[in-house]
């Protein structure tokens, strides 16, 4: 009897996970369901779309507002990332640490505590961390939500408690005070521009997508497709499939495509992990197919140096978190901050892979008060 109950439970779990892409995740967000089938093709239709705001870059903000204000008393900032399993979030965390050290070296009494959820499926856990920080009376929050909706209740609480909330890419919080991140749609556009240039404007290309929970990931594909439709009509997108952000699944997809489309010239992948899987497929086929990823992880840089991966779009999380920290202090110091602050992103290929990031993005240190 017990056994048959177990069998039923298992079957349900199995079927459910097959439908949800084999990662049991719950709590789909309002914007995700609003996007529906068109979400990966069209621009986001959610209420808050940072790509459509008149954002400004950090350089502009600095020249308008001057030095980073020194706040009274000791300031405790809480940053919550998605999941440290992912290199992107570890690097973002490192950036918060770098910024904290710079502040302390300049006599600012600021600490930044960084934590993350337990995996990118842990939406409730991430909310608990935020609520805990509110209870512990942190002075400011820098949040990168797993989905577009999971932190909304926490942000409401923070607002009631008078704690400013800065939304750090990616993941969107409609009711945050400021959004700090790159222009998401530009990400796919940069990849499309580079590929169409390399191919001379004609040829077959394919896209490996990851099932997107967050806005930024959805915009990658949208930006790529829109650029091609508007600027490179000779480029034909022959295939577009999901590989669940999984390296092995992406490799399998590419294996199939390379045989199905003998004239395939380029493959754009929604992240570097999948791109590196595709690189393995391209290598074993012996064909000359361009592979472009997104994120700029260390392994992608290594692969570009070896001449395997062709390009990646780096959004420089190490600097993104420093900008986010700076914006938070300015906000808390009473400065007028626009709704959206753009952070730098750039395409990395063999020509600039050895160039220091500071040089690529023209990084300058913020001015501190004495």
């Amino acid at each position: 009897m017990k056994r048959s109950v177990l069998a039923v439970v298992l079957t349900v779990v199995m079927a459910a996970s097959v439908f949800s892409g084999c990662t049991p995740k719950q709590g789909s967000t309002s914007s995700e369901s609003a996007g529906g089938a068109g979400a990966v093709q069209e621009t986001e239709t959610a209420a808050f779309n940072p790509d459509e705001e008149d954002g400004i870059e950090i350089g502009e903000l600095r020249s308008a507002l001057g030095a980073v204000p020194k706040l009274e008393g000791s300031v405790k900032l809480g940053a919550v990332a998605k999941a440290f399993e992912n290199e992107y979030w570890r690097t973002l965390k490192e950036g918060y640490g770098v910024f904290q050290d710079k502040l302390q070296a300049n006599g600012y009494d600021v600490t930044i505590d960084v934590s993350s959820a337990q995996g990118e499926g842990d939406e409730q856990g991430q909310l608990s961390i935020v609520k805990d920080m509110i209870n512990k009376k942190y002075n400011g929050l820098l949040l990168s939500p797993i989905s577009d909706g999971n932190l909304v209740p926490g942000v409401d609480d923070a607002k009631k408690a008078g704690i400013p909330v800065v939304n750090v890419n990616d993941g969107l919080i409609a009711n945050s005070d400021v959004f700090v991140g790159p222009k998401a749609i530009q990400n796919g556009e940069l990849a499309a521009e580079w590929i169409s240039e390399k191919l001379g404007g004609t040829g077959q290309v394919a896209i490996v997508i990851g099932m997107p929970k967050a806005f930024a990931a959805r915009q990658r594909t949208a930006g790529f497709e829109q650029y091609m439709a508007a600027n490179a009509t000779g480029i034909e997108i022959v295939a577009k499939q999901n590989a669940d952000w999984d390296r092995s699944k992406a490799k399998d997809l590419a294996d199939t495509w390379i045989k199905q489309y003998p004239d395939l010239k380029a493959i754009f992948c929604n992240n570097d992990t999948m791109a590196l899987g595709v690189v393995e497929a391209v290598k074993s086929s012996g064909k000359d197919i361009l592979v472009v990823g997104v994120d700029g992880i260390g392994e992608a840089y290594d692969s570009i140096r070896r001449g395997e991966l062709d390009a990646t779009i780096d959004s420089f999380p190490l600097y993104k978190s420093q900008i986010a920290g700076e914006v938070t202090l300015r906000l808390m110091g009473g400065q007028e901050i626009p709704r959206v602050i753009w952070t730098p992103q750039a395409l990395i290929d063999a020509t600039n892979v050895e160039k220091p990031a500071e040089e690529i993005i023209g990084w300058e240190e913020p001015v501190f008060e004495n």
Binding site: R3, S4, L6, A7, V9, L10, T11, V13, M14, A15, S17, V18, F19, S20, G21, C22, T23, P24, A37, V40, F84, E85, N86, E87, R90, I209, M211, A239, Q241, N242, D244, D246, R247, S248, K251, D252, L253, D255, T256, W257, K259, Q260, T273, L276, G277, E280, G298, E299, D302
Partner: protein
């Protein structure tokens, strides 16, 4: 001829389903039937097929193993590190198999000796093993796996098919022999049908159970090492959600999640069927959202075919005796 027919009648449902599926995709897109594409399907089934070999044994005992994805990741990062450190590939493979045996055996110990329910025990260990995989590398991937190991686990055999396919065929054959032609195999079915009766008839149930989970760990370790060879990079995030694909392959192949019923060949064809479906949907360019629905429907249809087949059998049986 008739005896062969009878011998494999259990796998008939899944084979019919597979042939129909391939025929339908072949009609819709002739390119699907090219030898290279069909070979690709088999090649891409290897990981799931290997996981399913072990999970089939465990499910037959009436248990389940949710740790396979995480166990894979532990093997991948540990063996990956050793290989990069210069360990001989043969030694690494043996060590990997041993590691899988130990990790799987630990699951078996929790279930047999500490009387935890298999679902809960392996749910817990799934998280523990995943954590270990992250700790071993600090979350970073192990890069640049040596080419000799990659050739051993995923190189061309006689220029025709990858060695990973040979590994799957070997593992399936061994699993087949264990289930059909050893006392141990008989015990597994007996335990799945009625554990108490098996115990009372003098079988060391606990020991055999631990060995079943340990063997599941071994086939999982093989899957992990094949994945490591295929990708050339060992990621601690590897294998997330793979346990459910493996369970699906076993179920589609006629293994009952209630225990006591299942076959290695069925599982093998189940894994191939799932990948044939996946590749077919890709070749046809079916929208991702629809792929989820198609996959779920095919799983349900395939399992239902199995039930219908059983019904026909028992109906024939009854008629025979009614006369």
């Amino acid at each position: 001829m008739k005896s062969i027919w009878k011998k494999f009648s259990r796998e008939l449902g899944i084979i019919v389903a597979l042939v129909i599926l391939i025929a339908v995709f072949g009609i819709l897109e002739p390119l699907y039937l090219t030898p290279t594409n069909l070979m690709d399907i088999v090649d891409q089934s290897v990981i799931n097929g290997l996981l399913a070999v072990g999970i089939t044994m465990v499910i037959i005992t009436g248990g389940i193993d949710l740790t396979v994805g995480s166990t894979m990741a532990v093997v991948i990062v540990c063996i990956g590190n050793l290989l990069v450190g210069g360990l001989n590939p043969v030694a690494a493979i043996l060590l990997g198999v041993l590691l899988g045996f130990v990790l799987g055996g630990l699951n078996g110990f929790l279930i047999a000796k500490m009387h935890l329910q298999p679902f809960i025990a392996t749910l817990g260990m799934m998280s523990v093993y995943r954590g270990i995989a992250y700790l071993v590398t600090g979350g970073w991937p192990v890069l640049s796996i040596p080419q000799n190991f990659r050739t051993a686990m995923d190189g061309d055999v006689a220029g025709v098919f990858p060695s990973s396919v040979v590994i799957l065929l070997l593992a399936t054959s061994v699993g087949y022999v264990i289930l059909k032609h050893t006392k141990f195999g008989t015990y597994l079915y007996a335990m799945g049908n009625n554990e108490e009766a098996t115990r009372l008839s003098g079988v060391n149930v606990d020991f055999n159970k631990i060995i079943a989970y340990a063997l599941c760990g071994v086939s999982t370790a093989l899957a992990g090492m094949v994945l490591l060879a295929k990708l050339g990079t060992g990621e601690p995030t590897a294998g997330q959600g793979y346990e459910l694909n493996a369970i699906a392959a076993a179920a589609v192949g006629g293994t009952s999640l209630a225990g006591g019923k299942g076959s290695m060949l069925g599982t093998f064809f189940g894994a191939i069927l799932l990948q044939a479906l996946k590749v077919g949907l890709v070749v046809l360019g079916v929208d991702t959202f629809w792929q989820y629905i198609a996959t779920g429907v095919i799983i349900i249809v395939a399992v239902y075919l199995d039930i219908v087949q059983e019904k026909i059998k028992s109906w024939k049986f009854e008629r025979k005796f009614a006369r």
